[in-house]
Each structure stands twice: as C-alpha cells, then as structure tokens.
C-alpha cells in the first residue's frame, strides 16, 4: 500500500475550502474534544478520590461547558448531515443547502444553551 501524503499540516491549514472545509475542521476539533472529555470523565469516575473530583470540578465550570457543548452539539448535528448524505448519495447534489440547514439548526440550539449556561453562572 503506497500511501503518499505530501501535504503538510501547515499547507492543510492554509487551504481555503470555505463552508464545507469549516465543517470538516470543526467536526475534527469537536470529535477530539469529545474523545478527550469522555475519556477523562470515565477515568475520573473510575479512579475517584482527589484526582476524580479535580477533573469533575473542571467539567462543571461554565467556561468548560460552553466549549464542550459546542464540540458535542456541532459534532452531533454535522455527523447527522454526513450520515444522511453518505447513506443517501443522491442527496449530495444538495450538499451546500445541507450545510446551511445544519447551521440553521445548530445556532439557535447552541445560542440558547450558552444563554442558559451563562445565566446559571451569573447566579440564575
């Protein structure tokens, strides 16, 4: 198997793919965020003790929740778009519109969630 990848990370970051590329990058970042979050959370509840409560205190911080909720929600909604387009390949014709719909679904939900998180952080 001759795998040749001559594109460096720097070139990849400079690539201007606009909307679809943005969802691709955010999907990756979100996925990595969830893997880190869930992995640390499972380990923290397994180990318990001081380390466990230290990690769990980070999770309950409002700033962390804003970030991780972005990761989880974007990954979930973008993932659903990918699943639908991949399992029904004829819909790929409408992929641009699909991304617009995705943002239209994501932004209100995320906006409301951030509002609730910030309001709770400010004392309900």
């Amino acid at each position: 198997m001759g795998l040749k990848r001559n594109v460096s990370l720097k070139d990849a970051l400079r690539y201007q793919g606009k909307g679809p590329m943005l969802t691709f990058i955010l999907h990756r970042i979100g996925g990595l965020g969830i893997v880190t979050f869930v992995g640390m959370h499972i380990l923290a509840s397994f180990l318990g003790g001081d380390f466990g409560s230290f990690v769990n205190n980070i999770y309950e911080h409002w700033a962390f929740q804003i970030v991780i909720f972005f990761c989880a929600l974007f990954h979930a909604i973008n993932g659903l778009r990918i699943v639908i387009l991949d399992l029904w390949p004829k819909l790929i014709e409408h992929q641009r519109e699909a991304i617009w719909i995705e943002w239209a679904v994501f932004l209100p939900i995320y906006g409301m969630a951030v509002l609730v998180i910030v309001r709770t952080a400010l004392g309900g």
Binding site: L9, R28, L32, I42, L43, F46, D86, P89
Partner: protein, 147 residues
C-alpha cells in the same frame, strides 16, 4: 451545473475492512442518536420533568448512568431511585459507551493518521488504539455495574 454523480454498487466496490469501518462509523452514529433518544424519553417517563433539573436531564440523555441523576440533581426529590439504576439502564449505558468509545477512538486514529507518513508508527498506533478501545469499554462497564 447539472453534474452527474456516479455511485458504485457494493458488489463492484468490494467489501473490505475500510468499507466496513466507514459503514460502522455512520451506523454507530445513528445508534448513538437512538440511545440518546431512548434515554431522553425514558427519563421523562421516570418523572424527570418534575424531579430533575435541565442540566441533569441532558447529562442523563448523553449517558443513562444512575450517578448522573442521583448524585448531581439539585431538585433531589426522586421518589423511586431503583428505577433509575435498573438493569435496563445499565445495559443501555453499556451499549451507549461501547458505541461511543469505538466510534471515538476510531475517529481519533483517523485524525492522527492523516498527519502521519511512517508506516510502522501508524501500525503501532492502530494496535494501541484497539487496545485502548477495549480497555476504555471495560473500565466504563466496570464503573456502571459496580457503583
């Protein structure tokens, strides 16, 4: 812009391990959506609307583990705590975590391998990823069934 998109049938494309994992990632995503939906509906049937706050309902939806609602809830007036820790929810949680970890670590390997050229390193990382998947699933299931 009337581009024609060609799709190959599965028989012509061949069904190898890469295609299997490609399909697995999509189907496990759908399975996690189903798990989250069952968790949300189940929590509401258990009385979450009046007994649990929104944050704990979301926590429960993403992972139906009894600790997620019994330890954290601020309303804290759940009448029947056994119902939240029943066998059904333990099996649901284990299913969810098995899909989530295998989906997540496969994704992590996909991302890492995109920036790696060395064949040996890739092979080692695949083995490490596989071992990590089994270890994380085992740890999570241990946490579910013992506390």
């Amino acid at each position: 812009m009337a581009a024609k998109y060609r799709t190959l049938s599965l028989a012509k494309r061949g069904f190898d391990f890469e295609i299997f994992m490609w399909l697995f990632v999509r189907l496990s995503a759908l399975a996690m959506y189903l798990c989250a939906f069952i968790g949300l509906v189940g929590a509401l049937m258990l009385g979450a609307r009046t007994q649990v706050n929104l944050a704990d309902l979301i926590r429960w939806t993403f992972m139906p583990d009894s600790n997620h609602v019994l330890m954290n809830t601020t309303l804290n007036n759940i009448a029947n705590t056994e119902a939240w820790a029943s066998l059904f929810w333990k099996i649901m949680g284990s299913t969810f975590v098995a899909f989530a970890v295998s989906h997540g670590l496969h994704g992590l390997l996909c991302v890492v391998e995109d920036y790696l050229k060395n064949h040996l390193v890739r092979r080692i990382l695949r083995i490490v990823g596989l071992l990590l998947t089994f270890a994380m699933i085992a740890i999570a299931i241990y946490v579910f069934w013992t506390r």
